[in-house]
């Protein structure tokens, strides 16, 4: 009984976290974009436009959810939920603060990379079931893209697993007590971090890798035919996915909730310890999210064949070689 109650409470917490994250991230994206584009951004609803996304969500909820006539109705309606549920599941092993984790499974990192592949099924489903050529092209692009870039993201994750010697998220964070892996692993760790950021940008279908919904080519790609709340679910899932990959990046490379410690500066280290661990985690995550938003509003989009050759010809060989280097560093104990 207590277990069921716990499950229900956790479920409600996760769902409300999703809603809040979606609202905050969409507003953040719009404000960041506005700053970069010499605009003001939303500033009408609430103080400084803070409730703009809430108003938008309300609007989307009241819209009619259209299903195209020739669509496969079952798959068409299922697809947004598959994408959303995949995003929800990845939340489980993420440590939000010291000892604040839903499920500290011993294969946490493996679980994350396994579940994150599920969302591509939802996207393919959406593209195929819409009975729209743009959607189909978008879904096919997305499939090829996510499957390819998962390799690089996976290899970057493995390099940290090699360094810390554990797949468990809490162990990985604990292993960064003396310093973050980004700094301790010499240059190979930095390369792994850069590749990880590139790969997850592609995996979340964000510009410059947003080919699945390249609006100048495919109008809106795989979600062209979606409207109302079903569209909102895709939209929300995109932002949740960004949060999740950035949270994983912060956990693996930037020490998760661990405060910044500098060698033997006792005073500095004590001062850093006063900042709550949840703030450390969110700060790092939002820094990475900002980076990914910055990419989107700066770079043009790659072409589909360039996207794939970037992965298979450059990122994958580099990350394989990099993994060998990191293994060498880990075996010889050369890291700090």
């Amino acid at each position: 009984m207590a277990l069921i109650l716990e499950c229900v409470i956790v479920m409600l917490l996760v769902i409300s976290l999703f809603a809040v994250l979606g609202l905050v991230l969409v507003l953040m994206e719009r404000k960041v974009a506005a700053r970069m584009q010499i605009r003001l951004g939303p500033n009408r609803v609430g103080p400084k436009g803070m409730f703009q996304t809430a108003a938008d969500t309300l609007k989307l909820m009241m819209k009619e959810g259209l299903t195209p006539d020739g669509a496969d109705k079952f798959l068409f309606n299922l697809a947004p939920f598959v994408v959303m549920i995949a995003a929800m599941l990845i939340m489980a092993p993420i440590a939000f603060a010291k000892g604040f984790q839903i499920w500290d499974i011993n294969i946490g990192v493996l679980y994350v990379s396994a579940v994150s592949s599920v969302s591509v099924i939802g996207i393919l489903m959406a593209g195929w079931a819409s009975n729209n050529k743009y959607s189909l092209l978008g879904a096919m692009r997305s499939g090829a893209q996510i499957v390819s870039y998962e390799l690089s993201a996976g290899l970057s994750i493995i390099s940290i697993v090699v360094l810390s010697g554990s797949l468990q998220v809490s162990d990985i964070i604990a292993s960064q007590q003396t310093g973050w892996w980004l700094f301790r692993g010499h240059i190979p760790a930095i390369i792994a971090f850069v590749i990880f950021i590139i790969a997850v940008t592609a995996e979340t279908n964000r510009a410059p890798f947003d080919l699945a919904e390249a609006e100048s080519e495919l109008t809106a790609g795989f979600h062209t035919e979606y409207s109302g709340m079903k569209f909102a679910l895709f939209f929300l899932a995109e932002y949740i996915n960004i949060f999740i990959v950035c949270a994983i990046g912060a956990t693996l490379f930037l020490g998760g909730w661990m405060p910044l410690h500098m060698g033997h500066w006792e005073g500095f280290n004590h001062l850093m310890d006063y900042i709550p661990s949840s703030l450390w985690f969110l700060g790092k995550t939002f820094f990475l999210i900002f980076l990914i938003m910055w990419f989107r509003w700066t770079f043009p989009r790659l072409r589909v064949d360039q996207l794939l050759s970037l992965e298979w010809k450059y990122l994958l060989p580099i990350s394989m070689f990099n993994l060998l280097l990191i293994t060498l560093i880990a075996i010889m104990g050369w890291h700090f």
């Binding site: 584009q37 009975n131 050529k133 100048s216 080519e217 043009p300 790659l302 072409r303 589909v304």
Partner: protein
């Protein structure tokens, strides 16, 4: 009564059943990349383009026919609505043709004002193209930067001409009003600001490795093809064809100012891009030479109230931001033209699209269309 039932594939079955498994897609008339109501029927094999068929007529307004019932003073302003980004230059071409017929001498002040306005228009047009081009390739932010500077030009235009887009400033024999007293200072301020901004554009887009990969070697048009398709303007100059009307058949005061005709030989999208970006600097150069040397005097020649062209045929051409714009008037000696034909640069440039994009990817199509700089009302008059 029979009711129409939507077939399972959404109603366009006639178009997507190519025999060899090719996919036929209708891009437009409502599509984010066509910048207007252009309709392209694209045959795709996977992501590779096999054939492109442009369908026109969505914004046809019979402008040439309308001109036949307008007087020689009035018809000039209809042409602002063709290539709305080169409104001044279109009007200039029409005014030149009427002046040719009337054998009218345009005062030097008016000629300099016309060139100044024409070059400001060219900068504004290339600015919009630059932003839209980057946006087609997926970078949103340059669009806003381009518009920031373009607004300044629009403000200058508004002050002198009274309008921001369709200025209607040219009249046969000169310009409609004299320059606003602030004009010179504001243009100088703009030039000073703009010189730094072009470097910023290069930093943001021209040097970007993704942008270069997207445009280099894409949509190659050889010089021979450019000539045979009748391409003009930056499209032909990107393929190494010297075709700048301002150099070949100088009008107004273009033979008295120093500027270079930009020619690139690669013929790909990147070459066409470079031509336009470098033309921005050349336009600035022309304005810098003229802004302090506007002669005093009349801004308009004395003309009769009712203009009548002698019987005959008259042709004039000007270089708009998109290429050669030709005006051909057949006069029967009356107050209205018997027949008018406009040669719009966009139409010929669009005709090369199919040739340029066969065998490239859909993503390349955006790079090719972007560098063609299509303005649909110009193609579809």
């Amino acid at each position: 009564m029979e009711t129409y039932k939507v077939p399972p594939n959404g109603g366009d079955e006639g178009l997507d059943t190519a025999d060899d498994g090719a996919l036929v897609i209708n891009v437009g008339p409502q599509h984010p990349a066509t910048h207007g109501v252009l309709h392209l029927v694209i045959t795709l094999q996977g992501e590779t383009i096999q054939k492109i068929e442009p369908h026109l007529g969505y914004i046809h307004r019979s402008i040439e026919k309308m001109c036949e019932s307008l007087s020689y003073r009035q018809f000039i302003y209809v042409t602002s609505r063709m290539d709305y980004l080169s409104a001044h230059i279109n009007n200039h071409g029409c005014a030149l043709c009427v002046e040719k017929g009337l054998q009218l001498e345009v005062p030097p002040r008016a000629q300099v004002i016309r060139v100044l306005m024409g070059e400001l228009t060219r900068i504004a047009s290339h600015e919009l193209w630059w932003g839209a081009m980057a946006m087609d390739l997926g970078a949103f932010t340059p669009f806003f930067y381009a518009f920031r500077e373009r607004e300044t030009i629009n403000d200058i235009m508004e002050e002198t001409c009274g309008a921001r887009l369709t200025m209607n400033y040219m009249v046969p024999g000169g310009v409609m009003y004299d320059l606003h007293p602030n004009f010179q200072q504001r243009v100088k301020d703009f030039i000073q600001l703009f010189n730094n901004k072009i470097d910023e554009y290069d930093d943001l887009v021209t040097g970007n490795i993704i942008f270069q990969n997207r445009t280099k070697g894409v949509g190659v048009l050889s010089a021979a093809d450019a000539i045979s398709y009748g391409c003009t303007g930056p499209v032909a100059r990107g393929s190494g064809v010297a075709c700048d009307i301002r150099k070949l058949y100088p009008y107004a005061v273009y033979d008295k100012v120093a500027f270079d005709e930009i020619i690139e030989t690669a013929g790909d999208s990147y070459a066409r891009y470079l031509v336009r970006v470098k033309e921005l600097r050349q336009s600035v150069r022309i304005i810098e030479q003229l802004i302090d040397n506007i002669p005093e005097g009349d801004f308009q020649a004395k003309t009769k109230a009712v203009l009548k062209l002698p019987k005959g045929e008259f042709y004039s051409r000007v270089e708009t931001a998109r290429g050669e714009f030709g005006v051909y008037i057949v006069s029967e000696g009356g107050t209205t033209p018997y027949r008018i034909k406009f040669r719009s640069p966009g139409f010929s440039n669009l005709s090369a699209l199919d040739h340029m994009s066969r065998g490239s990817k859909i993503g390349d199509l955006m790079a090719i269309m972007g560098t063609l700089d299509l303005v649909i009302p110009d193609i579809d008059r």
